[in-house]
Amino acid sequence: MSASKKDMRTPLGRVLAHGSAKSGTGDHIRQRITALAMVPLGLFFVGLIVALTGADYETARAWLGNPLVAIAALLLVVAAIMHMRIGMQIVIEDYVTGERLRSLALIGNFFFSYAVGLACVYAVAKIGFGA
């Protein structure tokens, strides 16, 4: 190997502070597809709030246990997780300065999004499967 002096820099050192990682387009497209999905799903969700506001436990269980409602709820949760993770990531990348703080915020964003999302999925599945 004819390693010149220039080659002694690590790959990370060479790319740091030199622009994007070229992976933003995927998130950009995902953000729009999930937005499109959530137009009908979001309106469904508002309808569900109206139907279940003040409803007792049995009524709420019956509605959420309905397969069509459960599937729509699951689709909404999946779309929402992706959408909110990307949206918050953009906000963090715009306003949180300092490499360490930004990394922590981005990690926290992942944790929160997926924890909340999986909690919702588990709850809907539990009601749906009648356990």
Partner: protein, 154 residues
């Protein structure tokens, strides 16, 4: 903002050049115009609000998770959720959440429309933005009018 290698490059300079470089660095550089220099327009205000509302909805998903987990857990857990949601402050949060959801939804549809290079002239952009703002408010009033009439409040 300062370049990462600004001061390191200066160290290599002979004294005279260094002084000149310092002077140049101290000179006023043109800054990109920011919020305070622009006249407030509805599209600009909505752009900022869209972000803020998005962050609020992000936090609000924890409440949705709480609701679903309470329903999955049992009658007692659900009753506790309902007592909090039924409190006047809980109702206020729910009304606010409904508005936030509809505002972000209608506001978000604008971006999908603009992606298709439709309604991009300043006038058309303002128009569809006002439509989104008013639709979200009207939708929230409609939803909660239905809710309160179902309960026999109005």
């Amino acid at each position: 903002m300062q370049g990462p290698s600004g001061s390191a490059a200066l160290l290599d300079c002979p004294n005279g050049v260094l002084r000149m470089a310092e002077q140049r660095q101290a000179a006023e550089r043109p800054l990109s115009p920011h919020l305070q220099i622009y006249r407030v327009t509805i599209t600009m205000a909505m752009s900022i609000l869209h972000r803020i509302v998005g962050v609020a909805l992000y936090a609000g998903t924890a409440l949705v998770a709480w609701w679903l987990i309470a329903a999955a857990t049992g009658p007692d857990a659900y009753a506790f959720f309902q007592s909090v949601a039924g409190h006047w402050f809980g109702q206020l949060v729910l009304i606010g959440y409904t508005w936030a959801l509809l505002h972000h939804l209608f506001g978000g549809i604008r971006y999908l429309v603009w992606d298709e290079i439709v309604a991009t002239s300043p006038k058309a952009a303002d128009t569809i933005t006002w439509i989104a703002v008013i639709s979200a408010l009207a939708g929230t009033v409609l939803v909660w009018a239905i809710v309160f009439s179902m309960r026999g409040v109005i």
